[in-house]
Amino acid sequence: MRAVHKVQGRAVVLDRPNVDTDQIIPAAWLKRVERTGFGPGLFSAWRTDPEFVLNQPGADEAKILIAGPNFGCGSSREHAVWALQDFGFDAVISPSFADIFRGNSIGAGLVTAETDEQTVAALGATLAADPAVTVVLDVAERTITVPSTGLSFDFALPDYARWRLLEGMDDVGITLRHADEIAAFEAQRPDWLPSSGPRTPAMT
């Protein structure tokens, strides 16, 4: 995973609550065996509407999606994160994220910036006035700023998630530093726990 320090560019507002991952990437797109190529499927049902936000001029250059609460609820499909990234988004700003989506995002390097409803509304008003305005999201500082208007807000991101985004760390690599502890844990697991492999006969 590549490191993410700052996301800077256009933002678009998707003013809907409870956007589920079936909307972000419909199931028909889940048959791909790659991690790439999902951009055309992003919000594909909603994109049939010419009024939809991603069909507006300049939306194809957007780096930041600003969405309503409970973004990414429903299916665990990480393809939703890949679709957002493949389209060009590097960050999502929302008052709240669904748990699995948040975990998938951090693992894949998509910034989930959690902020309050007022901030989302203020950003929405700013973008309504000037859809091309540049929004800057600083992962280290955990701030969202609009340099041209002087707006500045904090966002929430757990420390570990922040560290992983900044370092671009491979999570498996970090975990394998604990290989000895994993082996020690395995050595004391009860032997009656299920296993699909050959079972050790019970001691008699």
Binding site: I100, V172, E181
Partner: protein, 479 residues
């Protein structure tokens, strides 16, 4: 703001704490704890990129013996022994087969007697046991919490992490208790119970939490009902749902293929009996419901919290509290093609789907068949039943349920996820309306433009007969 506390074990004797604590491999300073995973279930759709990542990094599957795979998400349910006509689905199944062979992972492929929806086969094989940690690249992994396991869905990057390390990094979620007191009224099922809970707490009411379901009404459920309740925990946003194991759990497990045997069974029972929340333990959030107040439920909107009882009507968006809620309700009505004030019983359906990891077990098929015996599906309604696993299908046929369904006019299909998510071609046409025993009524979930109403198996069967939303009781007078 939505997520649980970042640090520190807060073991105050809840079932969840006990299961969490016994799986802690390491709690490094400044990092989320490392949790050992006892069972990793794998399917064809969310695993190919994980195996590829593993191989690109030159890694192997650490514990193939704790990893079990099946094919469910995009398998055909008609003529499953014939050639797979969808080349993309065929490629996913072929990849899974190759990956499992290369890494020594047990696979129950299409055609196997133990193939089926991943959350149906785990419990059926006795692989899901109390006190375990279970993960799968599927959000409905919460199903396995019905056994007192800590079970949750993960994304593909995490699937790769578990394949490589048999562990996951997890910030400890908060704990929530949902207590359902009293006795469910006749005709009210586990599905109605969980839809009622979701209506009460909302689609994000459980976010950042593991829910423990408690109380007399939960205790009285059989394992199929408990799995239905835990399955839909994710529809309330919860990380997982759990029910403390008891004699109902142990009776279900005894003698299953992977259940402990002989002296091991006794050792396991001793351990499992300790998996209860201690007297006096407190929760971060507590919700209490009276079972007697519950009625059969049907959804009207495009998320599982948007529901009313069968006696209700499509709500008027103007009656919602905030303008955001009003807009969301109006948007849902527009998508669903419904008018405020229409009685739910007056809404006709085009398709009835019985199946899925929520309601595709033998008990669910028995409940539906009990309603259909001696009755016919209404003219113009297409009705399909998709058993949750090949074994459920076999057992249902052994007791003649297939004949009941077929005589009534249902199509009797083979096991898979089918119309729950519509990946395999079993989909609604645009504008078609379904009564579905599945778990999600999101826009387009069962096919682009399709309109889904979530119901219990009994109500799905009654609705198929009446042609509009109905309970089994409604059919009595009409016979």
């Amino acid at each position: 703001m939505g997520h649980g506390p970042d640090n520190g074990p807060r073991d105050n004797g809840r079932l969840f704490d006990k299961v969490w604590q016994r799986h802690l491999v390491a709690s490094p300073e400044g990092e989320p704890p490392l949790l050992y995973i006892d069972l990793h279930l794998v399917h064809e759709v969310t695993s190919p990129q994980a195996f590829e990542g593993l191989e690109l990094a030159g890694r192997t599957v650490r514990r193939p013996d704790l990893t079990v795979a099946t094919m469910d998400h995009d398998v055909p349910t008609l003529n499953p022994d014939g050639p797979i006509t969808d080349p993309l689905a065929a490629e996913q199944m072929s990849r899974l087969r190759k990956n499992c062979e290369a890494h020594g992972v047990t696979l129950y492929p299409l055609g196997s007697a133990d193939q089926g929806v991943v959350h149906v086969i785990g419990p059926q094989l006795g692989l899901t046991q109390p006190g375990m940690t279970v993960v799968c690249g599927d959000s409905h992994t919460s199903t396995h919490g019905a056994f007192g396991a800590l079970a949750f869905g993960i994304g593909t990057t995490e699937v790769e992490h578990v394949l490589a390390t048999q562990t996951l990094r997890q910030t400890k979620p908060a704990a929530m208790a949902i207590t359902v007191d009293g006795e469910l009224p006749a005709g009210v099922t586990a599905k109605d119970l969980v839809l009622g809970i979701i209506a009460e707490i909302g689609t994000n009411g459980g976010t950042g939490h593991v829910i423990e379901y408690r109380g007399a009404a939960i205790r009285s459920l059989d394992m199929a009902g408990r799995m239905t309740v835990c399955n839909m925990s994710i529809e309330a946003g919860a990380r997982a749902g759990m029910i403390a194991p008891d004699d109902t759990t142990f009776a279900f497990l005894e003698g299953r293929q992977h259940s402990p045997k002989g002296a091991d069974w006794e050792r396991a029972l001793d351990d499992w009996r300790s998996l209860v929340t201690d007297e006096g333990a407190t929760f971060d959030r507590e919700v209490r419901l009276d079972a007697a107040s519950l009625r059969p439920v049907v959804t009207w909107g495009t998320n599982p919290a948007q529901s009313v009882t069968i006696d209700g009507a499509v709500p008027d968006p103007a009656t919602f509290a905030t303008s955001a809620e009003q807009q969301a309700a109006q948007r849902a009505l527009d998508y669903m093609g419904l008018r405020a004030g229409t009685a739910m019983r007056d809404i006709g359906v085009d398709v009835v789907f019985i199946g899925s990891c929520t309601n595709g077990r033998l008990a669910d098929l028995r409940a539906a068949a009990g309603v259909l015996r001696g009755r016919k599906v209404s003219d113009g309604v297409k009705a399909i039943v998709v058993p949750g696993s090949a074994r459920v299908k076999f057992e249902a046929e052994a007791e003649g349920l297939d004949q009941v369904f077929k005589s009534a006019g249902f199509e009797w299909r083979s096991a898979g996820c089918s119309m729950c998510l519509g990946m395999n071609g079993d989909i609604l046409a645009p504008g078609e309306r379904s009564a579905s025993t599945s778990n999600r009524n999101f826009e387009g979930r069962q096919g682009p433009g399709g309109r889904t109403h979530l119901v219990s198996p009994a109500m799905a069967a009654a609705t198929a007969v009446a042609g509009h939303f109905s309970t089994p009781g409604d059919l009595e007078g009409a016979r």
